[in-house]
Amino acid sequence: MVVVTEVLTGNYSVAHAVRLSRAQVIAAYPITPQTTIVEKIAQFVEGGEMNAKYMRVESEHSAMAACIGASATGARAFTATSSQGLLYMSELVWWAGLGKFPMVMAVVTRAMAPPWSIWSEHNDVLAHRDCGWVIFFAESNQEVLDLTIQSFRISEDERVIQPVMVSLDAFILSHTATPVSLPDQSDVDDFLPPLGSRRLPFILDPANPAAYGNLAYPKDFMEFRYEVARSMEHARDVIVEAGREYGKITGRYYDSLVEGYRCSDADVVLIGMGSSVGDAKDAVDMLRDKGYSVGVIKLRTLRPFPFDEIRDISRGKKFVGVVDRDFSFGFGGIGYGEVSSAIGGRVPVQGFIAGLGGRDITVKDYVAIGERLVDMADKGLEPMSPIWIDLKREVFK
């Protein structure tokens, strides 16, 4: 095991992971804050450090179409996008997921316009929650690199054969440089064998013409959906297996869909995803010092959703708080809705909305959230409609 540590941004961590994973087709269309991912990969390809076909396409829609085409011939494909770009790509994102085309896409989470924003919010990814993609949210640049490499393996596993999205928060991860440990190429090669046609259930081959995804009458349709549903269920085990194997080569084990932090003896648990979970962990340490019994659950995968894990960790807790960097208008936090369905009313769940459009979610915010949940638990209060953190209420007077 030869380990190299470099100081990398989240975007460069993605690019290095794609290089180490020996992706063969890269479809590139620039959009802030994703651009430096495909820029760095272009440099790798141009400099001979990567043997890949680099396609400068005319839109995100075409980027995904190119990846689907590449995947359909048995090539390992990658692209990256953000926000408006992901929305423009949307039709083909569904094609990739429902059509079972293995590939990896990095999405740098960014708020949608209007008003224009280039900063983080999770609604872009969450709008693609139901497309048959495995969806990861990364907390740190190290996790970005590690999850991207694992994503290729998960995507190509014969029990899964579905595309995988790795989400990293705009600027907080994408453009912030931190030390990142890079695994040895030979270790990654062992972990991630070449894809090739023989590992796929179907490839497009001019010598043996076939059409894929033709019109299916109602009598035939549902089974194709169930095939995707079944693969996403299998993905649970495959993710854990891949995370374990990855731990063997790096010492960093990803053997659960969630990461619990100081949860086992906690009365109150905070749940979140993405970069701000790191701040939540710091806040929990501070709350513990003050005598508050609080823990954190990080949702590492949003799809497949970690029902059992959340149910198990939250069992017997007095209150659960879900912090969403997203919002479903007329409903509430999207993570809140999902967590509530897993908990099924056994523990009161309070939703919090924070950090929309890149507003900072500070450690202080998390301390206040933790204290508030403990107070609600102590007083036996019922959960209320979502609490918006750091909202300028005076604007609405």
Binding site: K100, E158, L200, P201, F202, A210, A211, N214
Partner: protein, 88 residues
């Protein structure tokens, strides 16, 4: 692969995108005696379900795998050589 998948793959054969002929409630029938080989039906058919056959490609036949029974051919035929017959 050891694991089986259920995938929407179709081979290029007649009707692989759906035999639209099953939608038909009326079937156009050509009376070859009355046909003057003007090819208007072939020209107007929106589904290209009318085929030109024979040595000179001037005889018309209907491909019932795809004919949806819209009746345009029967309507256009100047010689009333095509009649629409209810499907049994």
């Amino acid at each position: 692969m050891s694991y089986s998948h259920h995938l929407p793959i179709s081979k290029p054969v007649d009707g692989s995108v759906g035999s639209t002929g099953i939608w038909r409630s009326f079937r156009p029938v050509i009376d070859q005696e009355k046909c003057k080989h003007c090819l208007l039906c072939w020209l107007y058919c929106p589904e290209t379900a009318i085929k030109r056959v024979g040595e000179d490609h001037m005889q018309v036949v209907i491909d019932y795998t795809y004919c949806k029974g819209c009746g345009i051919c029967a309507n256009e035929c100047p010689f009333k050589a095509i009649t629409m017959v209810r499907e049994g």
